[in-house]
Symmetry: C2
Subunit: 493 residues, 2 copies
């Protein structure tokens, strides 16, 4: 057995950071030895799960009418600078300034995000109100930021991206799309990937530069830190103004277009699946995401060739049959590994179901089925297998969902005073609901004070679309003025 | 109607270059106004076809056991330089040498291809013969080369890539994989995309730097130029030596691994589909590749509201029904365009089937069906539609295939003397089969002479796997020595 497959040597609840590092390595999800900091190799077991996240997202946005575009990996310096507020990115931009042995006259950047490269084209594409609404997205490519600290699937200098960029005649259409983005997150992140989250409206001082409002699905990781799983922004006409995106309205007048953009965090969703669903034995994957859904392990202790043949024949037939049923199945017939080593290996990888087949199973025409989420080993008649795999898959998914919800609820607390908050954040972290004076710019001072006291707590925002009610007479936990909102505090990556 | 939709104003056979430029623009396939030369925006109609090419290729290589990896977009300078012969790329490499306002200590390059970034990782991943064969690929990302001249989907400074990189214990396994790569090209390029091609073994002087042998599927474009649709390389142990890829063999000894790599040219395949299948009215697309397979056009000339409603109701029902049948369907109900303008629009886009529905069709419960490849308009009972769309799709595909084969055959000629060759290449271009002295390094002198005489003719190589026979006594058309091979000459992009 390879050294890196000796199983996790640390418990998730005791040292999440070390657990995460080990699982990346031992479940073979990424390789950080590429030699340029923050640039990693995504290995198949991770990439196939990531691809599934893309599949679901693409399906959702295409059903809404979005069409797939592919823009270059680079962006002109002039375009990047055009939106002044956007220049927030430039300190972390990688510049392409040489080609061969020559300096490039007009250097260009690796794109840190899409707006600055996409919106100059939009200013060429639309003339009339008839050209709108315009719904476009691009996916399965990357963006680049020269981050100081990096961590696979959480923060990289290159990381996987998905973005939709939409243009409308009316502001109401923008607001409607934001609701649809929320539904997309519900469908893919919550229902499919089983990751619970809150949908926040960020405070004004923490919104995307250039946006009127920013909305984010945020979850909490087992180390108690907030994991922002994406964002959708109401851009108003701010970018249209900066990039000159105008149309001739129905009444014949030229007007600025309204815009939204939506970016689910592909890597962050994956990291949440690893971190939240995983346990001390390794990954735990919702059935649909597992690159291998059913693994067959032959149990052969005898040296009798005849017996071995019989078991292997049944295993091979099972593999063919289960593949025909439409499941992703693998027969692990390596002859140099023990059944026990194979169990550990596939548990580490998070394969939802294991079928064991020994001489006894051959005789009885059954398999022994074991679910990754636990429970007893069960004997299943081969003739019932299709039905049982289907129902066991639902059982596994339900169990993953219930565990994740329980975990998430256990990470939400309440505090009424700053002192209480400080105490909670020292002991638990996670989300803490508190009364707060304002989520407009005038609230930022209170965040600063709170941040200092809690060593890094941030205001995530108010719940969206339905904000928590503020009880009468509640005071802002920092300044003591009337609390206008219940906000959530968390430390962030 | 937008200006760029006024139809093609040039015939493909008269000025292919202008036809190609017009179709890119008028069928809305790409936008070259991104502002950095050689970096284009791929628009949905092109990208959805390209995505289909990827879908097919991924399915084929995964059935063979390849797993999907995702490597960074960049490569270390040291790794790029490691394989000296590989340094062939460095004059056209883009360098990332600044981040924010600082110079990067060890600059890195945008990857010009995969070997130099992938093989250093391979040297870390394999220890034992048990780790091989190793079949990996990556797809849907790009590579970057500072080309002097660029043309959308033919040559770009950034272009879409697909590559598999495989490692073996034995050389025979490498040769077997090359045969499978050929089968993949057959399946996807020839059978699915209906592009005829020759499979060549390149002469030794024109192989991939560092390879023992290079094999390519080459077709010919309507301007008579060769379009290389991909390549697969027998790398022997050359790269294993350069990048230190060693394993412990069964006998316990350390040995260098054998390698192959395979890269179908995604853009080139797309360009061939545009150029070869297209006609003077626009794109012609094989049924499976069309982003819209069936378009429904309501025919309403009357001003009677009731009649309009009746027609639109039937059209909407048809759209729903045809979607349920599993076809990609679009109802063009724009009220500001005439039916004729819509016909032209969707012919330009290459939609395989058009269904017209007017008041008469409503009364008779029929639709009028017109195929993009021509033939009469046919009345089809609505109740027969599913069956008829299926059979018409086959008819269309067959017609595209037959036309492409006829076209390809018409672009292959033979010559016995240099004078004949020069004459043919002046009048027709395409492939010319000629007797040639050698495809080893000693043949290069003859190519140089031939190239000068024909103003750019190149030796494509010998047919693979079954070479043409050389008639007894044939002489090399250039040097007059005994001809050992029949080779094919063509001008290239």
């Amino acid at each position: 057995m390879a050294e890196n497959e000796m199983g996790l040597t640390v418990k998730k609840d005791e040292d999440f950071s070390e657990w995460y590092t080990q699982i990346l390595n031992k479940a073979d999800l990424s390789d950080i030895r590429f030699g340029i900091q923050g640039f990693i190799v995504q290995k198949p077991w991770a990439y196939m799960i990531i691809r599934k996240i893309y599949d679901y997202l693409e399906k959702e946005v295409e059903m809404q009418g979005h069409l797939p575009y592919r823009f270059p990996t680079v962006v002109k310096e002039k375009d990047l600078m055009k939106e002044e507020e956007h220049a927030g990115f430039t300190p972390e931009v990688f510049w392409v300034s040489e080609a061969g042995d020559k300096k490039i006259e007009e250097r260009f950047a690796l794109r840190p995000t899409g707006e600055a490269q996409i919106y100059p084209m939009y200013s060429l594409w639309f003339r009339s109100y008839r050209d709108l609404p315009f719904l476009a997205y691009q996916s399965r490519n990357s963006v680049f930021r020269n981050e100081m600290t990096t961590r696979p699937f959480i923060r990289g200098r290159e990381f996987m991206f998905f973005e939709s960029h939409n243009v409308y005649n009316e502001h109401q259409e923008a607001l409607d799309q934001i609701k649809k983005d929320l539904e997309t997150c519900d469908e893919v992140i919550k229902k499919k990937a089983k990751i619970p989250f809150y949908y926040f409206k960020r405070p004004q001082w923490d919104k995307f530069l250039g946006a009127d409002d920013t909305f984010t699905p945020d979850t909490v990781m087992p180390d108690g830190k907030r994991n922002q799983l994406g964002s959708t922004h109401d851009l108003g006409t701010n970018f249209a103004k900066a990039y000159d995106i105008k149309i001739r309205a129905k009444d014949g007048k030229q007007q600025l277009a309204f815009q939204t953009c939506f970016g689910p965090g592909i890597w962050r969703i994956f990291a949440a699946m690893v971190g939240i669903h995983g346990d001390d034995n390794g990954l735990v994957l919702p059935f649909d995401f597992a690159p291998v859904q059913v693994v067959i392990v032959p149990i052969i202790f005898s040296k009798k060739k005849e017996l071995t043949e019989k078991v292997l024949t049944m295993c091979k037939k099972l593999e063919t049959d289960i593949r025909k049923m439409g499941y992703k199945v693998k027969l692990d017939d390596r002859d140099y590994e023990s059944p026990g080593a194979k169990y550990n290996h596939w548990e580490l990888k998070g394969v939802p179901m294991r079928l064991e087949v020994g001489p006894k199973e051959v005789d009885e025409k059954v398999v022994s089925l074991k679910l990754r989420t636990g429970g007893d080993k069960e004997k299943v008649n081969v003739s019932d297998l299709k039905k049982v795999i289907g129902s066991k898959a639902l059982e596994l998914d339900k169990e993953i969902e219930v565990r994740a919800q329980k975990y998430f609820k256990g990470n939400v607390r309440e505090a009424k005073t700053l002192k209480e908050l400080v105490k909670i954040m020292k002991e638990h972290r996670g989300f803490v609901k508190v009364p707060f004076c304002s989520v407009e710019m005038d609230g930022e001072k209170c965040e600063e004070e709170m941040k200092a006291e809690t060593q890094g707590g941030r205001v995530c925002g108010t719940l969206y679309p339905k904000e928590d009610k503020v009880a009468k007479g509640q005071k802002c936990m920092v300044c003591g003025k009337e609390a206008k909102h219940m906000v959530y505090i968390a430390k962030s990556y």
